[in-house]
Amino acid sequence: MDYTSYLGKRLAQLVPVLLGLTVVVFLMIHSIPGNTADALLGDKGTPENVARLTQQLGLDRPLPVQYLYFVKNLVSGDLGQSYRYGQPVQALLAARLGPTLFLTLYAVGLSVLISLPLSILAAVRQNRWPDLAVRTLSLGGFVMPSYWVALMLMLLFSIKLRILPLSGYGRSIPDHFRYLLLPAFTIAVAQAPVLIRPLRAKILATLRADFVMTAWAKGVPASRVMLAHVLRNSLISTITILGVNIGWMLGGAVIVETVFSVPGLGSLLIEAITKRDYPVVQGLTLCMAAMVMCMNLITDLVYTVLDPRVDYGK
């Protein structure tokens, strides 16, 4: 099987998964007790207002009918209208997708920038103080709640030193880099340890492999041994972990985006849940799930590029 048909097959596999996802998302949201119209109107809703809104939103129809409408619209690219904003959900998502993608990629970049040198350092100085320091630090980063890390970073960089904006997103690309540095770093602090430990172990194992010994013996320069031989072979596992964890990062971004008021998908999710804006919650869940699935697919594809030994025929 060649690469193209492998790709086609993988993409086709996504369809039933997505469809199943729509059922789960739809049922989960509608099995939450309490009336949407009630929630939308809050304590001000009189029984007449509630009844009128229920009818307006089509919430008085049977669930399967509501589901079919949902899927029908979905197929035509229509995720419905936000109850709250009265705007198409896809437009709301599109506006919020940028900051989340920016933040996630920024956080991935930072975690790699942090974990690569630290893992190498820990591996080549195994069981000596740099190694111990890296291992202790990464344990610390892993156990600190991101909410707390965020507050500490804000206090230090925005209140004491006043060198970085406390929250927000900014208007231009250089602005985004500045505004999102603290949130991205907050995510990276939790993410880097997840990368460091396996990468360190893998580097250690690779350092002892025969082909590395051979490279040393041939007199290949140390930097080339490390980069071309050791790292390239060790990184494969890291990429898998990173790929899987991007889904986790999207989840973590919900908290970080809220704390730092980043106008991304995560903060939209919180707003939509508290306001019971079902179409937006549905759209967001689908969108986030689709992003995770895409990431997994991309991970697998990158895998085949990095490691030609991976057989995509099966």
Partner: protein, 528 residues
Amino acid sequence: MKLWTLDRRPAAVLLAVLVGLVAGCSGGAGSGNSPGDASSKAGQATAGAKPGGVLTMARPREPDSLDPIVPTDNESIYTMLLIYDQLVRVAKDGKSVEAGLAETWETSQDGKTFTFHLRQGVKFHNGDPVTVDDVIYSLNRVKSDKKSGWADMYADIDTIVAKDAATLVITTKRPYVPMLANLSMFAASIVPKKLGESGYDFNAKPVGSGPFVFDHWSKGTEIVLKKNPDYWQKGLPYLDEVRFLLVAEDNTRNLKLQAGEVDIAADVPFSSIAELKSNPDVTVKAEPLMRVDFITMNTTRKPFDDVKIRQAVNYAVDKDALIQAVLFGNGKPANTFLPPMLYHDDAAPGYKNDVAKAKELMTQSSQPNGFKTTLNIASGDSLQNQVAIIVKEQLAKIGIDVTIQQLESGVKRKAFRDLNYDLSYQLMTSDVIDPDELTMFGGASATRTFWTGYNNPKVDQLAKDGQAETDPAKRAQIYKEIQKILSDDAPYIYLYYVPAANVTSKRVQNFTPLLTGNYRLEEVQLSK
């Protein structure tokens, strides 16, 4: 015909004068000396402050909609009141109305005809003049558009007609005194007829005639308003621009203020007020708000059908302790079902904490040996949770065993509406300065008396009388009586009145939220 005068108790007048002096502005409730006439306003600027500048305010939520007839949430309301004008607006004392787009007005002797003389030469933000037709269109819109969430408050209006280009006459089917208060509401904002009739989306780009012009709204980030240079109050607003940032996290709002990134942090948690007060760089504003918190009792269920038990729990709950522990001292015990507002009976005794009396009432009640009951609170709401724990402890002293039940807010609301509960933590806020709205909601039986199941034909009748009584003194008496009956019959455990807590940086001058919770940012200045 008589010139409209609202209740002018000496204290209210004094307060109005004081506030007026501080703000460098003279308030005149419908007496014809409109606040916009003071052309020397800019000259009266607070010392050290200067016109211009950008004010940034961090708020915890985004508006739901900026179409006047749609939303019910405070962020929408406070924003719209800066963009749109109404015929009349709430005066700073929070107890009367003053001139808006109507310069003067009269009410007929029978209380059924309201005549408004419109201010001339006012322009909408798109440059069109504000005409009597725009006013008629806007009022009909809130009264009968099917999008309107506020039609009930204008249902008593019979006709709205133009007598001439500058005079509007509204008639009602019966004497209806809350009319002016209702017309000062955001929902009765005046919008251009021409746009409205062409299906214009006022939420997407509001067009009004208020002090600020809508610039843009980046969802999830900010709403930006610019100064209206043609505003009818000459010299106002002082600010060039207002930015409302969405900052959902309580701590982040506080920190943003401390980092100097915003000028005002709205709705700060009470737990941080003491700390903020000790910070010399910021000013804490805990202003009274028309909000009352209470625990409703389901009077259709045993044993809360017994008034002795309802009174006993009221005596058993120590409001001062709650205010200290939960609100950190920022609040007042609730003595009636009305929050601090027009006709609130300040002298009503309420229920002072008295465990001995509570025990005595229990022994005379249907449950002398105590009973078990359940208190519903919204899950994740730390205020309600803390209150519930203290109330549980206090009621245990008179033999009542309370189980605290945390419910998702939608579930809690449904149980409440279905009268399928024993006790439930609830609150009411008023959108108008007139007590009619809350009386119809929390006293009369149309809502089953705020879903307590309490039903008193006498209160219903009094509430109707209150709507029709044109004599302010007699009206005050009616609302006093309603408050007394509801206090004695106690369908609620009266808790407290919570203030609105806003924190500003020292450079913000004249930021004074009204009793309605909104802020006149057109009067705010920034010091150099």
